[in-house]
């Protein structure tokens, strides 16, 4: 079986790789492109640790075939910060201690960014339901939600100032 050649944009940069038809986008990101920030927690779309954005849409990369990435715009956790400048979500996660083991954190941050892109002023309930697909076993979600709401406020403020 011959491999499929895929060209895509990953975190704003051109990327290309060869893949088997059956390889998932998650495995291609981790094994072909060396972007190990997205994690496999379950492989079946139930935990959100593999969350990435494809053409601006939040998805589980373990349920996308790598071949489907052809021509698409992929955003992963590695693209959230800009050089040394952390995204407000990342900064607030640290300030609020919204992570303990940190394994679910990349997926949570990508999902939270997708939330704030779609809804800059979510309520606590809206935030909890949006993030229901990101399992965290360490924090009980309390500080995660606080961090997201705090980052939302920062981003609204930045937008007003701009």
């Amino acid at each position: 079986m011959s491999k499929i050649h895929v060209t895509a944009t990953v975190n704003g940069d051109p990327a290309e790789f060869l893949t088997d038809p059956g390889t998932t986008l998650l495995d291609a990101l981790r094994d072909e492109l060396g972007l190990t920030g997205s994690k496999e927690g379950c492989g079946s779309g139930d935990c959100g640790a593999c969350s990435v954005m494809v053409d601006g849409r939040l998805v589980c990369s373990c349920l996308v075939l790598a071949a489907e990435a052809e021509g698409r715009r992929i955003e992963t956790i590695e693209g959230l910060a800009h050089g040394t400048e952390l995204h407000p979500l990342q900064q607030k996660f640290l300030e609020h201690a919204a992570l303990q083991c940190g394994f679910c954190t990349p997926g949570l941050l990508v999902a939270a960014k997708a939330l704030l892109d779609a809804n800059p002023d979510p309520s606590e309930e809206e935030t909890r339901y949006w993030l229901a697909g990101n399992l965290c076993r360490c924090t009980g979600y309390d500080k995660v939600i606080r961090a997201v709401l705090d980052a939302a406020a920062v981003l609204r403020q930045e937008r007003r100032a701009a």
Binding site: S44, D46, C101, F103, L131, Y141, V144
Partner: protein
Amino acid sequence: MSDVLDRPATAPQFDSVGTRPIRPDGIDKVTGRAAFGADFVMPGALHGRIKRSPYAHARILGIDTRKALALPGVKAVVTGADFPDLDEELIEGGEAASSMRDLAWNVMARKKVLYDGHAVAAVAAVSPAIAEAALDLIEVTYETLPHVIDVEASMAPDAPLLHDHIFTSGMPEKPTTPSNIAARHQFVRGDVDQALADAEVKIEARYTTKAVHQGYIEPHACVASMTADGQGQVWSSSQGHFMVRTYCAKVLKLDISDLRVTPAEIGGGFGGKTTVYLEPVALALSRIAGAPVKLVMSRDEVFRATGPTSGGVIEVKLGATKDGTITAADVLLKFQAGAFPGSPVGAACMTALACYDLPNFRIVGFDVVTNTPKVAAYRAPGAPIAAFGVESAMDELARKLGMDPIDLRAKNGARDGVKAAYGPTFQNIGFLESLEAIKQHPNYAIPLGPNQGRGVAVGFWFNVGGESTAAIHISEDGTATVATANPDIGGSRASMAIMAAETLGIPVDKVRPVIPDTASIGYSMLTGGSRTTFAVGMAVVQAAEKVVAELKRRAAKLWDVSADQVAWEGGKAVCLDATKDVAPMTLKALAGQSARTGGPISAEVSLNAQGAGPGFATHVCDVEIDPETGGVTVLRYTASQDVGRAIHPSYVEGQIQGGVAQGVGWALNEEYIFDAEGRMENAGFLDYRVPVASDLPMIDTVLIEVPNPRHPYGAKGVGEVPIVPPLAAVANAVRAATGVRMCDLPLSPPKIRAALDARAT
């Protein structure tokens, strides 16, 4: 943010302890750069896969690996025959002793498979697809046997026998025939039967729980590389890389120092990663293949073939006087151990009544093997199960007495000077304070509406000390490295930096914590038992104190005074000799002169920490029930806990919130479901239902500081107590909301609806 309540007289001022700095590994964790077990790449690594039994109980009649070996791209195949035979050996580790022979048999089956998912063979190949194909080519011939899952069914005389060498320990006379009952534990005080007979108010009830999993999001993963001469390297995420080294050495009969284990970042453990499953297999494959081998579990394998905790039976009898003095408690526990002995029933016995000061009690516990995965530690192992029964019964007792549930615990509660049910006499404990904190908390006064109820429960965990090593090295520019040998599973390295910084008197961000591999630092017991901040912290502080002593000697040398004329204040050496006109010297200045004054400045301390302070907690939970669907919504949750001293309050709060969330999941929806063949039906996060973000409210915490005088900063372990009360707190709240006592966990909606319907008829 929580309330942090101090006993007023002893509230000291610290520079770093009690502050909330950003954790030192934070940027790696929020950018995806941190390397967990499966992220590590070793060039040339082969892909490993494990073949697992599809039967809950069977004899292995033969394994034919020839076709698998012949498949192009397969570099190694192992079965039980490739692992050495071990004599029985018990190793202390974590909170209980582990049998190395049982561990070896669990890692790779020998004559029998004892649960669906038990490893029977493994391969290493050049690609995952070839490894998968090779597994299918391994032919295993089984003779299936009847299996048993339920703990009481397994105790019955005619139960299918898992092992023929188990003769129940702890019996008055050693049994003559083997059984599935591995051990009987007993704790007795006074005359409980007489006291129960005399009691004015009595409660008698039976409770049951199902097996649950720690549910860490990171599946087990490792990379191992072994050369033909038996030297090996392992990279894995675990709760103790020294434990990994020891266990691999035992299972493979290697010299311990021939193995070097590097800890990866760990994506959750909660006790479930205090043992090994993959590492010895990966090493064995690697040695044969002559190349490194990477082995990563799937989520399905994590559920079927790692270490959930027990399901169990808890029978409770309570006796009290009409004024609410509890005079008698009789507790019977029966816990599933899984395929090999070693459930946490012993610890459960010791914790079951620890919150209470009782004149008469009997606690008996049975450790029973079953055809389910061998249980591993799960956060305060055994205690939540026992507490579910005891605290539900206490709630019933309070109702019968017409007493507020907090008042009942306060009247009978453990306090300084009380001899604990499990032996020691309590000193410097904050149980009564935690009760009072909940009683005074706004949560306790919020009015409840229709179909709403409030439940209270308390909990206890010993916390341990143990063997720990820490090293502090001062760099030439006066910054410091603190090296400890304990994987950071919850943010502990931040606390190590805080304690080192406090002792040295320098800012926290000038102290960088690291966790070196097993060859680069002295031995440490694994991360568990809520011991790291206490015991490893003690080693850190002692190492820092040694460094301070050395810095004072260096200053003395420079000032030409005796060492006792130098004090260390605010991170500086200060000359006490009034005749010398010298300015204080900073750590940085002294470090800059270290070559002249005697060489590099560092210290390593190994100790076996004693004097760990036990933890106590009081929780309150408000729920609302939908009577038509049986659905439970958790409206509010407040947890108070005696934490000794909150070294980094944010992470102490986080431990409490995380433990509560696990307890709520255990109470409401989590359970192992087995089919008629003994196979787990819900081995994935779709149908093994851990709480999601929308299932929980904010979790309020009240940190009570009754410092532990045995620790330099008063720390007590905090991580395990929080999971102990929630099971009963939720069940008691459901009782209050519905009028129905639910005695079997989990409290899933169909069961609540059925209970409501039964009461109506």
